[in-house]
Amino acid sequence: MSTTGHEAAANAPNAGEYILHHLGNLNSSGHPQNTMVDFSIINYDTLFFSVVLGAVGLLLMWLAARRATSGVPGRVQAALEILVEMVDYQAKAIVPNENSRRFVAPLGLTAFIWVFLMNAMDFLPVDLLPLLWQKLSGNPHAYLRVVPTADLNGAFGLSFGVLLVSLFYSVKTKGIGGWMHELISAPFGNHPLLYIPNAAMQIVEFTAKTVSHGMRLFGNMYAGELLFLLIALMGMASPSMEPVGGSLLWLGHLVTGTLWALFHIFIVVLQAFIFMMLTLVYIGLAHSNH
């Protein structure tokens, strides 16, 4: 952000505005959403980046997979094989049904790759793509968020998908009657008086699983993004903070930014792995009877 000159300095956003602007999505309403839930609005940026990243990731995997050989594998194939074996190994340990694994294991792999790529968008400088978009769209106030998993919809979209899949397998393994029966008879026991508490518990369980699944990913990525924004703010603050200003804070930006980015590499992979593991665990649980 250029903050030289009085006019620019006057027009420059203050810290709060800067962060809020960065947390606003490019959506169909044209301004940041101000109601908690509004299903008439859709976030173009989250959708665009997640679809592009998913498509690129899967395309690369597909290109490697279609030339897969059972002989000596190339490096790309070997890398893909490591991923496939890692997911397959976990899936075999967690999901008891081999038939289900045909879909659940690829689902886990997709979740891992996709979440990893979406999280990795955090490594781009926080202002890079928003600035490019502002120039490209000609609107200096255009909103853009580049980390789809730092958008509540992005993370919950995934965990909601996992909920649907686990409900599907729940019904598939136990039958619709068996599943309904479980819904009202577990966890407290099969007694007419306990039907309502059981059902309430089940609903709480499903909700808790889904919310914690999505929230874990969202929270980590949102906090990571926020910290990158604060680090960027520290660098920008230097010209206006005379006593400690100048190169010192710029240096602080460099040091903390580097450290946080390095640590974030770990978080990005870890969160992708955790998301994949929980996907497998929740769907695996759907196969077991209470």
Binding site: L23, N27, Q33, N34, T35, M36, V37, D38, F39, S40, I41, I42, N43, T46, L47, S50, V51, G54, L58, M61, W62, A64, A65, R66, A68, T69, S70, G71, P73, Q77, L80, E81, V84, E85, D88, R102, F103, A105, P106, L107, L109, T110, A111, W114, P148, D151, L152, N153, G154, F156, G157, L158, F160, G161, L164, V165
Partner: protein, 156 residues
């Protein structure tokens, strides 16, 4: 920070991506991995078979060598026996031949002896006649006493 329709879109995209992975990414890799595992286990089994056949053939080779050695020593023993037999036979033959030669020599000697005796017999008769001649000089007529003289000769 707020929920909207993006959630459902994201869910749909997620399911579509997973289906794509299930259809196009996972199977070729899983197939390649399974095939490679099969090939490796096949190779290992083949190596094991090779190891076994090597052990078998080296055992066979050792057996053949041992058999050859046994046969060789057998042949050697036979040859020695045969040589001994040949020597024995030669000895026997030689003995036989010597006896033959000795017998022939003995016969020859006997023949010579007989001849000598014949010769001596003649000479003795002559000597007797000559002696008698000397003794009887006048009284004995060779012609008249020829019968008597030949009788004496026969008596000798």
């Amino acid at each position: 920070m707020y929920l909207n329709a993006t959630l459902l879109a994201q869910t749909t995209v997620f399911i579509i991506l997973a289906l794509f992975t299930m259809k196009f990414v996972w199977p070729p890799i899983a197939k390649a991995l399974d095939e490679r595992a099969a090939r490796i286990s096949e190779g290992l089994a083949e190596a094991e078979r090779g190891r076994q056949s090597l052990a078998l053939s080296s055992r066979q080779a050792a057996e053949t060598v041992r058999g050859g050695k046994e046969k060789a020593s057998e042949v050697l023993a036979q040859a020695e026996k045969r040589a001994e037999q040949i020597i024995e036979k030669a000895k026997a033959d030689a003995r036989l031949e010597a006896e033959k030669v000795m017998a022939a020599a003995k016969a020859e000697i006997e023949r010579e002896e007989a001849r000598m005796r014949e010769l001596l017999r003649g000479r003795v008769a002559e000597l007797a006649v000559a002696g008698a001649e000397r003794i009887l000089r006048r009284e004995v007529d060779a012609g008249a006493h020829a019968d008597m003289l030949s009788a004496i000769e026969l008596d000798l």
